[in-house]
Structure formats: structure tokens, C-alpha cells
């Protein structure tokens, strides 16, 4: 048997021609990368801010220049504000949010599992989650303060409550999406209900649980700042609130910048964690 290598000669025309992309004149216009556009936007905003501050369009008390804010950020780092350095304020806030996250995961994952696997569980928990989900955390903060007083407990409770719905809902969604074959395979190998839950259902739902956790971190972080604005003696929210009361606008702006920066860092860390713990979810 001989192999036909010259297809064009064999068929009398180039059979690959029609399957190929139609040849277009190559686009030589250079495209500006989006990141560059974003960078230029930030720089422009800073310049407008600097110009506005230099021209003293409004009083420096209300709008300090970027340089003043930078200096106050440096002072926050080295000296601190209201008895605490920036690191201590950040640490106080982070401890609250991470502590609340722990509580929310410990309660939320089993709750989501119950909703996703059992009709009774769904019947009991669904209305609670659906009641809690659309509520702004600040709406129940006063009640929590009445119950738990102004201490760490009330803040952690508020943050945990704000985190719960997204963890519960994403866990339930992940549990419901577990492949039937995956469960049947385990059952065929003699797995008990507990083993199926542990080795298949929860493992399979992990990417979804982690996504829910990442979203929860975002909502928790905003709830935290709100809670600290109202009732705290340390923390980023407290810091900008008390600075505002003394009209120390540069500290307020520096504090807002730090809050935004940490929110971004938390998001990045959570994404890295997802990639590390559940690489298969992003690999397909």
C-alpha cells in the first residue's frame, strides 16, 4: 500500500484551502494595553487631585494634597494614631474578620451541606438564609450590640452573620452539583453515607465553597469597617471615624486607601488559595 502524501496532486486542488481561515490583511495597528490605560487613569486622577489641592479650590482641611496624605500614612506607620500604630489597627481589623470567617465557615459549610443533601435541612434553613441574605449588616448591628454589648463578640457576630449567606449558598450549590456518577462510583466500592459525604461530596464541592468564602471575605470586610465605625476602640474603621471627628482629613483618606488595599490583598490571597486547594476547577 502506498501512502498518498501529495493531497493537492491527488485531489486536483488544495483541499485544505477551504478549511483555512480566510486570509485577512494583517492588522498592524498597535493596541494600547488595558493595564496602561488604567495606569494612566490613576495617574491623571492623582494629578487632578494634586492640582486641586495646590490651587486650594477647597480648604486643605477638607482636601489635603497627596503629599500630605503620604506623609500622614508614614506617620501612621511609625507613630500611629490614637495610641495605636497602623499595623496594630490593621491587625485588630484582620483578627476580627478572620475570626468571623472561621466561625462562618464552621457554621456555614455544614448548613450548606444540610440544604444541599436533605429536604428537611433545606426546609429548615432556607428561610433563615433567605431572610439574612438581603439584610445590610448595619441593620442588625444595633440589635447585636444590645445583646452582646460593645465588645469583640458583637463585632465578630455581625461580620460572621454578613458572611454566612454566601458560604451557605455556595456550599449548597456545590453539593447539589456533585456528579451522580462520582457518588455512585463510591457507593459501588462500598462507601458508607459518611464516607461518600467526606470523600466525594465535600471534596467535589470544595471549589464552590472556596468561591463562596472569597465572596464572604469581601462582604465581611465591608461589614467590619461599618461595625468599627459604630463601635470600636481600635481598628481601621474606628481610626477613620475618630480622625473624621477631629477633621484630620489626611488620616481619613490614608485610612480609606489602606482599607481598599487590604480588600484587594484579601481577594488575591483567596484566589491563590482556590488555585492551590482546588486546581482541577480552573484546569479544564
Amino acid at each position: 500500500m502506498t501512502l498518498i502524501t501529495d493531497l493537492t496532486a491527488f485531489y486536483g486542488y488544495d483541499i485544505t484551502a477551504e478549511t483555512r481561515e480566510p486570509t485577512r490583511p494583517p492588522v498592524r495597528r498597535r493596541q494600547v494595553p488595558v493595564s496602561l490605560i488604567s495606569l494612566l487613569t490613576v495617574i491623571s486622577l492623582l494629578m487632578i487631585w494634586t492640582a486641586a489641592a495646590a490651587a486650594e479650590l477647597v480648604s486643605p482641611v477638607f482636601l489635603p494634597s497627596p503629599a500630605v496624605v503620604a506623609t500622614s500614612l508614614w506617620n501612621l506607620l511609625t507613630v500611629g494614631f490614637v495610641d495605636s500604630t497602623l499595623a496594630q489597627q490593621v491587625l485588630a481589623s484582620l483578627r476580627r474578620v478572620l475570626g468571623a470567617l472561621g466561625v462562618a465557615v464552621v457554621i456555614g459549610v455544614p448548613a450548606g451541606l444540610a440544604i444541599g443533601t436533605s429536604r428537611i435541612g433545606r426546609g429548615i434553613l432556607d428561610p433563615i438564609v433567605e431572610f439574612l441574605r438581603p439584610l445590610p449588616p448595619l441593620a442588625y448591628l444595633p440589635l447585636i450590640i444590645i445583646w452582646f454589648a460593645i465588645g469583640e463578640a458583637s463585632k465578630v457576630t455581625v461580620i460572621a452573620l454578613s458572611m454566612l449567606p454566601s458560604i451557605v449558598i455556595s456550599t449548597a450549590a456545590g453539593v447539589r452539583a456533585v456528579s451522580k456518577d462520582h457518588i455512585n462510583a463510591a457507593r459501588a466500592f462500598g462507601a458508607t453515607r459518611r464516607q461518600v459525604t467526606l470523600h466525594v461530596v465535600l471534596r467535589s464541592a470544595l471549589p464552590s465553597i472556596l468561591t463562596g468564602t472569597r465572596i464572604a471575605l469581601g462582604t465581611g470586610w465591608s461589614a467590619l469597617v461599618a461595625a468599627e465605625l459604630v463601635a470600636a476602640t481600635r481598628g481601621l474603621g474606628f481610626m477613620i471615624q475618630s480622625a473624621a471627628q477631629f477633621l484630620v482629613t489626611d488620616v481619613v483618606i490614608a485610612g480609606i486607601a489602606v482599607i481598599a488595599l487590604i480588600a484587594i490583598l484579601l481577594e488575591i490571597a483567596a484566589r491563590a488559595l482556590e488555585k492551590w486547594l482546588a486546581p482541577w476547577a480552573s484546569a479544564h
Binding site: 456518577d181 457507593r187 459501588a188 466500592f189 462500598g190 486546581p279 484546569a283
Partner: protein, 267 residues
């Protein structure tokens, strides 16, 4: 010797609401598979092939009749019957070796023994290097090999194969057919394979069972000897080209068309 039997087995999906009437899926099936047999069930979609396998696996219960293993009624899945799924059903959070050793983990075997056995089984299915590989990095054919190794880990008496080669390209498929035959002989188990390929049925089966669709009824139960030829060393290409094979192929095609007239049939 072990025997998996269907005695007058019917399966009815009950009516659901106004628009979905009760549906008879399998109608009084009588069938048995013994260890050492390779029974291939063939039929069009709607003939209840997969339901038949699910009943054997214990994922479902019959509406009427009995499914028994050595005379005992099957109540749910069990380690003496291992299942290989069409879309492999491997666990992406485990590497290839841990997938293969998963049944041993369920059994409570220690980690070191588990690993050793996992490596052994991967070698048996021709993937000695794949132990640490992630499932999603493997090709479809490799994944099915891992799936088969996992089924073997439980040391089952019966292999229940639900179109395990259905999603593979033709070349990989014909290679894995021979591989499957070899695995079946070495494991001395009984095999129940679901397929819609007549060619595959003829190559692998010691017995071919034809189901007619809507509802699934046993239309034929025919012995086949081509698998024995292949196990005796005859190349699959020659077996396929033999007049006897072609005659059987035509006969089966005619039979299946006669019992299920609509639709074109897969070769």
C-alpha cells in the same frame, strides 16, 4: 463460580404529574451472567441498557422481579460488583494512583499498602508512569484505563461496564477493546458490557444479548466465539475481516433493525 441473575425483572418509572405518564423501561427480563462469561448487551437508545446495568450495580431497584447474586437478592451496591462509567467518573481532586486506590481507602487499607497496590494496578493497565499525574492531564483512553484499574482494585467478581469506550476515538477504542478482553480474562471475573456498537459486541462477547426498545425486552441471547479467537492470538483486523464475522454482523444488524425499526443504527 458466581452468578448474577435477572428473574422476570421489570422496571417502571412512575407517572410524574400530568404530562409525564408512567413508563415501562424494562419488561420481564430474564438474564444471567456467570464469572468467566463476557456478556454484551446491545440495543438502541430507549432499550433500557443503562437501567439494566444500574439494576445489576444496585443503584436502582427493580419494580418487579428479582436481581440476585448467587441466589441472594441484591440490595444496593457492593464490592463484588465494580462499575466502569462512560465518562470515567474519576475524582479530579485525586491523582491517578489515589483514584485507583480509592476502593482500598474505603475498605480501610493503610496508606502504604494502598500506594503499592495502586502502582501495581496502574502497571497492569499499562500506565506505570502515570501514578502522580493529575486526572485532567490524561487523555480519554488513559482515563478509562485508570477507571478500569480502579474497578479492579476492589477485586470484584463482576465488572459492570457502561459504554466505557463510547466517548473514545476509533483508534483508541479498538486498542482498548483488546485491552478490556485481556483484563477480563486475567481477572477471571464475569463482565456485563453495555454498548451500541455491533462490532464491539461481536469482538468482546462470549454472549450477545439484544434488547428491543420501548419497552426494553430481551429480543435475543446469542453465543459468540470471536472473543475466544482474539484471546487465542488472532489479530482483531483478521477476525473482523472473516466471513463468519461479517455474517454475524449482518445478522445482528438485521435483527436489531427488525426489533427497533426507526433511526439509523451505529455500525
Amino acid at each position: 463460580m458466581s452468578q448474577l441473575s435477572f428473574n422476570e425483572v421489570s422496571l417502571i418509572y412512575p407517572a410524574r404529574g400530568r404530562h409525564c405518564a408512567a413508563q415501562l423501561v424494562l419488561d420481564r427480563i430474564n438474564l444471567s451472567v456467570s464469572t468467566g462469561e463476557f456478556v454484551v448487551v446491545i440495543g438502541r437508545s430507549g432499550s433500557g441498557k443503562t437501567s439494566l446495568l444500574n439494576l445489576a450495580a444496585g443503584f436502582q431497584e427493580p419494580s418487579e422481579g428479582k436481581v440476585t447474586l448467587d441466589g441472594k437478592i441484591i440490595e444496593g451496591p457492593g464490592t463484588e460488583r465494580a462499575v466502569v462509567f462512560q465518562d470515567d467518573a474519576l475524582y479530579p481532586w485525586l491523582d491517578a494512583r489515589d483514584n485507583v486506590a480509592f476502593p482500598l481507602k474505603i475498605k480501610g487499607m493503610g496508606e502504604r499498602d494502598r500506594r503499592a497496590r495502586g502502582d501495581e494496578l496502574l502497571e497492569l493497565v499499562g500506565l506505570p508512569e502515570a501514578g502522580q499525574r493529575r486526572i485532567w492531564e490524561l487523555s480519554g483512553g488513559m482515563r478509562q484505563r485508570v477507571g478500569i484499574a480502579r474497578a479492579l482494585a476492589a477485586e470484584p467478581r463482576f465488572l459492570l461496564l457502561d459504554e466505557p469506550l463510547g466517548a473514545l476515538d476509533a483508534l483508541t477504542r479498538s486498542r482498548l477493546q483488546i485491552f478490556l478482553l485481556d483484563v477480563w480474562r486475567k481477572s477471571r471475573s464475569g463482565a456485563l458490557l453495555i454498548t451500541h456498537s455491533i462490532d464491539e459486541a461481536l469482538l468482546l462477547a462470549t454472549r450477545i444479548v439484544v434488547l428491543s426498545p420501548n419497552p426494553g425486552r430481551l429480543a435475543a441471547d446469542i453465543p459468540s466465539s470471536f472473543a475466544a479467537d482474539i484471546l487465542a492470538g488472532a489479530p482483531a483486523v483478521e477476525v473482523r475481516a472473516s466471513p463468519a464475522f461479517k455474517r454475524m454482523h449482518d445478522g445482528l444488524t438485521g435483527l436489531i433493525q427488525a426489533v427497533s425499526p426507526e433511526e439509523e443504527l451505529a455500525a
